[in-house]
C-alpha cells in the first residue's frame, strides 16, 4: 500500500462554531458535529448546531476543503419518525459529506427518500464482522466507524474482506462496554446511552465481591473504579494504525473546547504528515507526546487496538475522572409504580378469540429445557452464550433438545452469540451448516451480520434478539426485508413506545417480560483485571470455580456472568418481572412473551414458566381475571436476585 496525503483522514469533533474554526485551522481533514436533533450528545444543548448553523458550517468547511459529517446517531421512537423524516430532508438539502447513523430505520428511510448524502455507520451500530458490513453496504453505508473492541489486525482483515472504508477512534473518552449494547443508563434512569443521554454507570465506584459469600475481594484491590476506562490515545502506535488501512482517524469529544481540540489535531496532524512524507524515517516526537500527556484528562491507553489491554486500560483510583454524571441508585423494585396502565380485563374479552399467546423461555441446560417444556413453554431458546459453569450446547445436545421439544409439540429455537467477531463468525458459519441436519424450529440472531449470514445459509425461520435495538416500526421493516420473521423489542422501550411500535410493526414482536437482564457486555474481564492485574491472557480461569459480582454504592449487587468467549456480562441488580402487567401488554397487542431463564435453576425455570403460562391462559380464555399478588411474593422469595420493573417506571425513554 503506497501512502499519499489522501490515505489518512484526521477527523475532529466539533460542538460549537469556535471549535469548528479551530479544528479547521489546526489541520483537520474532516469534522463531525451534531444538530440540535437526534444525535448522541444531547446533555449539552449548547454544544450542538441549529439547522441554520448546520448549513453555514457545511459551507464553511467546504470553503476550507474540509469534509463535514453530521451525526444522526440516535435510536428513534415511532413518535419521532415524522420529525426524523423532516430532518433527513433538510440534511439532504444542505449536503454534508455524510450522515453518521445508528438506527437501522435510517437505512430504510434513506432508501425510501432517495437520500444522496452518503451514510456512515456510527460506532453505536456495533459493527464488528464482515457480514454486518456487507449488509450495511447494501443500504448505502460507505464507511463504518469500527467497534472499539477490534484490534488493528482485525480491522485490516475486515477491510480486506469487504473493501469498506474504516473509521476508528484514536483519541479520547471510551466506553468499557460494547457500544450500542449498553442498557444500564436507559433502563435505570430512563435516559438511554443509545439516545445521547448516558449517565455513565461505568464511572461509578464498585466493589468486586464473591457472589457465593458476599465478601468483598479486597486483597490487592487496585481501587474502586473497576469499569472506568482510560482515554484512548493512539499517538504512540500511529505507524501501525496507518499501516492497518484505517482511513479515518477519529478524535472523540464533541463537548470539548476549541483549545483542547486544536491542540490534539495539531499534534496528530504533524505526526501523520511526517509519517506519510517519509515512513521509514519517521520518529516518535517526545515533545508532542509530552504535550498530549500534559493536557490529558485521564491517563492514556491504546485500548483494544494492539490487543485486549486488560487492567492496564482501567483508571482504578478515579483520580483523573474529569467529572461524574450520576451516582449509583437502588434499582426500581417490583413494588415501584410503573407507567404501564391498568387495563380492565373486560377490555380484553375480545382477545379471548385470539390464538394462545406464545411463551418462550431461554434456558442454559437440558434440565432447564425439560422443565420449561413441562410447564408450558411453547418455545425454548438454547445455544449462543453459555454462562459458566454451564457448557456450550454440543451438536448432540441440540439434537436431543429438538427431539424433546417435538414430544411437547413445542419449538426449539437455536440462538447465536450477541457479539460475533472473527472467531465466533468462523464458528457460526460451520454451525449454521450443521443446523441442516439438526433441524431446529428456528434460529435467533443478535446482530445484523449474523442476520445476513443466517439468511444466506439456513431455510428455517430467523428471528432477531433485543440487541438489534428495535425501537420503531421502520427498524422492524428493515429486519423483515433482511430475512427476519420475528423480532424482539428493545429493553429500553417503555410501555407507551412499545404500544405504538406494536401497532405499526410489520413483524411479530416478542417482549422480554421476566428474567436476568444484561446491563453491559464487555470484552474486558473484570475479575482477571482486578484480581490479577492482567489482560485476557494469561488467564488463570478465575471464573471456573468462583462467581463474582460488582457491588455499587447503593448496595446493589450486579452479578457478572462470563461466557465461553470470556466476555463479561453485567446483570442488572434486579431481574425484570412484568407478571402483574400482562393485561396491559396483551391490550397493547403483544402476543409473544419471553422469560430469560438462563440464569435460573431448572426448578425455578419450571415455576416461572408455569406462573406466566397460567396467567396468560387465564387472560385469554375470557374468564374473569384477578391477579393474585401473593404469587409475586413467592416468586421473589425463590429468585436469585430481587425483582424489578426495568425501564417501565418511565412513561417515555428519553
Amino acid at each position: 500500500m503506497l501512502l499519499t496525503p489522501q490515505s489518512v483522514e484526521l477527523l475532529a469533533p466539533v460542538g460549537t462554531w469556535d471549535v469548528l474554526e479551530a479544528a479547521v485551522a489546526a489541520g483537520a481533514d474532516a469534522v463531525y458535529l451534531g444538530g440540535k436533533r437526534f444525535n448522541m450528545r444531547l446533555h449539552r444543548t449548547d454544544t450542538n448546531f441549529d439547522d441554520e448553523k448546520l448549513a453555514q458550517a457545511v459551507k464553511y468547511a467546504h470553503k476550507h476543503n474540509v469534509r463535514l459529517y453530521v451525526t444522526v446517531n440516535n435510536l428513534i421512537s415511532d413518535r419521532e419518525l415524522p420529525g426524523m423524516r423532516d430532518y433527513l430532508k433538510l440534511l439532504n438539502e444542505i449536503q454534508p459529506d455524510s450522515l453518521i447513523v445508528q438506527d437501522l430505520a435510517i437505512l430504510q428511510l434513506a432508501r425510501e427518500m432517495n437520500l444522496t448524502v452518503p451514510l456512515h455507520a456510527s460506532v453505536m451500530m456495533n459493527t464488528h464482522n464482515e457480514h454486518a458490513i456487507k449488509a450495511l453496504m447494501e443500504y448505502g453505508i460507505t464507511r463504518v466507524v469500527a467497534n472499539r473492541e477490534l484490534t488493528l489486525t482485525q480491522l485490516t482483515l475486515l477491510k480486506e474482506r469487504t473493501g469498506i472504508e474504516l473509521e476508528y477512534f484514536i483519541h479520547g473518552d471510551m466506553c468499557v462496554a460494547h457500544s450500542g449494547q449498553c442498557y444500564h443508563s436507559g433502563v435505570v434512569f430512563g435516559q438511554s446511552s443509545n439516545r445521547g443521554r448516558c449517565l455513565k454507570p461505568c464511572r461509578w465506584p464498585y466493589q468486586l465481591i464473591d457472589s457465593a459469600t458476599g465478601q468483598a475481594m479486597t486483597a490487592n484491590d487496585p481501587g474502586p473504579y473497576k469499569l472506568a476506562v482510560k482515554d484512548m490515545c493512539m499517538y504512540s502506535a500511529l505507524p501501525q494504525l496507518i499501516q492497518a488501512g484505517v482511513c479515518s482517524f477519529k478524535i472523540e469529544g464533541r463537548m470539548r473546547t476549541a483549545d483542547f481540540v486544536s491542540r490534539i489535531v495539531k499534534v496528530y496532524r504533524r505526526a501523520i504528515d511526517r509519517y506519510i512524507a517519509d515512513p521509514t524515517g519517521y520518529t516518535f516526537d517526545m515533545d508532542d507526546w509530552q504535550e498530549l500527556s500534559d493536557y490529558r484528562s485521564r491517563d492514556f491507553s491504546t485500548c483494544y487496538a494492539l490487543g485486549n489491554p486488560g487492567a492496564s486500560s482501567i483508571g482504578y483510583t478515579g483520580e483523573r475522572e474529569p467529572r461524574f454524571f450520576s451516582q449509583a441508585v437502588k434499582e426500581a423494585d417490583v413494588a415501584t409504580a410503573t407507567s404501564i396502565p391498568v387495563i380492565a380485563t373486560s377490555s380484553l374479552e375480545a382477545s379471548a378469540a385470539r390464538p394462545r399467546p406464545q411463551l418462550a423461555v431461554r434456558v442454559a441446560c437440558q434440565e432447564s429445557l425439560a422443565s420449561a417444556l413441562e410447564n408450558g413453554a411453547t418455545v425454548a431458546y438454547i445455544g449462543g452464550e453459555a454462562f459458566k459453569p454451564h457448557k456450550p450446547w454440543s451438536l448432540i445436545d441440540l439434537q436431543a433438545a429438538v427431539s424433546l421439544a417435538d414430544k411437547y409439540q413445542a419449538k426449539v429455537v437455536v440462538t447465536t452469540p450477541r457479539i460475533t467477531m472473527e472467531r465466533e463468525i468462523g464458528e457460526s458459519e460451520q454451525f449454521l451448516k450443521s443446523l441442516e441436519t439438526i433441524k431446529p424450529h428456528g434460529l435467533m440472531v443478535s446482530n445484523s451480520g449474523m442476520l445476513r449470514l443466517a439468511h444466506q445459509t439456513v431455510t428455517i425461520p430467523i428471528q432477531t434478539d433485543f440487541s438489534l435495538n428495535l425501537f420503531n416500526h421502520l427498524t422492524a421493516t428493515w429486519l423483515k426485508n433482511n430475512g427476519a420473521v420475528k423480532a424482539t423489542l428493545s429493553l429500553e422501550a417503555t410501555y407507551e413506545q412499545i404500544a405504538e411500535l406494536a401497532k405499526n410493526s410489520p413483524l411479530s414482536l416478542e417482549m422480554i417480560v421476566h428474567g436476568g437482564i444484561e446491563a453491559m457486555v464487555l470484552d474486558h474481564c473484570v475479575p482477571s483485571a482486578v484480581l490479577e492485574g492482567t489482560a485476557a491472557y494469561p488467564c488463570h480461569h478465575l471464573c471456573t470455580d468462583k462467581h463474582y459480582s460488582l457491588m455499587d454504592s447503593a448496595g446493589e449487587r450486579h452479578d457478572l456472568v462470563i461466557d465461553q468467549y470470556c466476555r463479561n456480562h453485567i446483570l442488572f441488580a434486579k431481574d425484570l418481572c412484568l407478571l402483574p402487567h400482562l393485561p396491559a401488554l396483551l391490550y397493547a397487542g403483544i402476543t409473544h412473551y419471553r422469560i430469560e431463564g438462563q440464569h435460573y435453576t431448572p426448578e425455578l425455570v419450571g415455576k416461572i414458566t408455569a406462573l406466566y403460562r397460567a396467567e396468560l391462559d387465564k387472560l385469554t380464555t375470557g374468564k374473569t381475571y384477578t391477579f393474585d399478588k401473593t404469587c409475586l411474593d413467592k416468586l421473589a422469595a425463590d429468585s436469585p436476585r430481587p425483582l424489578g420493573i426495568g425501564a417501565f417506571r418511565y412513561r417515555i425513554s428519553r
Partner: protein, 289 residues
C-alpha cells in the same frame, strides 16, 4: 484596540463571555480577545493566566472563582473583572463589595437568598418543610446554605441534608424524612453533576426539587431562580469599559445579581401532580417541557 484576556474555567460559563463581548461592543470598546479555557481543570488556571499575561492583556475577564483567583495572583497590575463569583470577599478577591480595594472587581453571581425563599413560597405555596441537600466540603455551597437558612428559617422548617462525598447520594432515600415537602439544592459541583441520582430518588418520593444550577431544570428539577450569565457578562463589560477608560478597579463596587430569572419544568410539574402558578409561568424566562 485593547487586548483583553478571557480566562474561562469551563465552557458552561460561555454565555457570560458572550454577554461580556456584546457589552463591550455596545460600549464602543474595540478589543482583540484572547480566550483560554481550562476545560474544568482548576490546576491549569494559573498557567493559562500566565499565557494571557504574556499576550499583553490590558485586562482579564475571569469566569468563576478559581479563574478570578488565578488572574489576581498574577504578578503585575493587570486588572481583573470577574463573574459569577459567589463570594468575592470570602474568596479574597475584594476587601468589601462597595470598595474592593485591589486590582479586581466584577459582578457576584449568587442570587440573594431572600429572593430564592420568596420564589419557593410562590412556586410551592403549601410547602412547610424544605430539605437542603448540599456537599459539605464545598465552600460556595456552605455560604449559600448559611444565607438560605437565615433568609428562610421563618418561612419554612429547614432540614439539613449534608453529604460528605458523592457516593452518599446513593443512600439518599434513607434520609428523606416523610415530612419533607421539597428539596432545595444550593450551588455546588458535586450535587449539580450527580443531579440525575438526586432526581431519580426525588421522583420516587414525589419531592419537588428547587435547584440553583440552571442546567438541572431541563434535567428534571421543578424550578430555579438563577442569574442570567449573559447579563452578568454584560454588567462586567460596563465595569471593564470604566477600567479601560482609566478607572481603578479597586474603586468600582462589585455588582450583585439584580434581575434573577425564573426557570420552570412543566414535565416535572406534571409528574409531581403540581400545577405551576400562572403568575410564575408568566414571569418565567424559560419553561421546559
Amino acid at each position: 484596540m485593547h487586548h483583553i484576556g478571557i480566562l474561562q474555567l469551563t465552557q458552561n460559563l460561555d454565555d457570560a463571555v458572550r454577554g461580556f463581548k456584546a457589552g463591550l461592543s455596545e460600549s464602543g470598546v474595540s478589543a482583540e480577545f484572547h480566550y483560554v479555557n481550562a476545560d474544568g481543570a482548576v490546576n491549569d488556571l494559573p498557567q493559562l493566566a500566565e499565557k494571557l499575561a504574556h499576550q499583553q492583556a490590558a485586562l482579564i475577564f475571569a469566569c468563576s472563582t478559581p479563574a478570578a483567583q488565578a488572574a489576581v495572583q498574577l504578578p503585575g497590575t493587570i486588572p481583573v473583572v470577574f463573574t459569577p463569583v459567589f463570594d468575592p470577599v470570602g474568596a479574597g478577591l475584594a476587601k468589601s463589595m462597595d470598595k474592593p480595594g485591589g486590582k479586581a472587581t466584577g459582578v457576584a453571581g449568587m442570587v440573594p437568598a431572600a429572593a430564592k425563599t420568596a420564589f419557593i413560597q410562590e412556586l410551592l405555596p403549601a410547602a412547610k418543610t424544605i430539605g437542603i441537600l448540599y456537599h459539605s466540603a464545598d465552600s460556595n455551597a456552605l455560604l449559600e446554605v448559611n444565607n438560605f437558612k437565615q433568609a428562610a428559617q421563618t418561612a419554612f422548617t429547614l432540614v439539613d441534608l449534608p453529604i460528605a462525598k458523592p457516593e452518599e447520594l446513593s443512600s439518599l432515600p434513607d434520609r428523606l424524612i416523610p415530612e419533607l415537602d421539597a428539596l432545595f439544592l444550593p450551588i455546588g459541583r458535586i450535587i449539580e453533576e450527580n443531579f440525575a441520582s438526586v432526581a431519580y430518588y426525588a421522583e420516587a418520593a414525589n419531592l419537588p426539587l428547587i435547584t440553583s444550577h440552571a442546567p438541572n431544570v431541563p434535567s428534571g428539577a421543578l424550578g430555579a431562580l438563577v442569574s442570567n450569565h449573559y447579563e452578568l457578562g454584560r454588567a462586567c463589560a460596563a465595569k471593564a469599559a470604566q477600567i479601560l477608560a482609566g478607572a481603578q478597579p479597586g474603586n468600582i463596587p462589585v455588582g450583585i445579581v439584580d434581575n434573577p430569572e425564573i426557570q420552570l419544568n412543566s414535565f416535572a410539574a406534571a409528574n409531581l401532580g403540581i400545577e405551576l402558578p400562572p403568575a410564575l409561568l408568566k414571569k418565567a424566562a424559560e419553561v421546559f417541557e
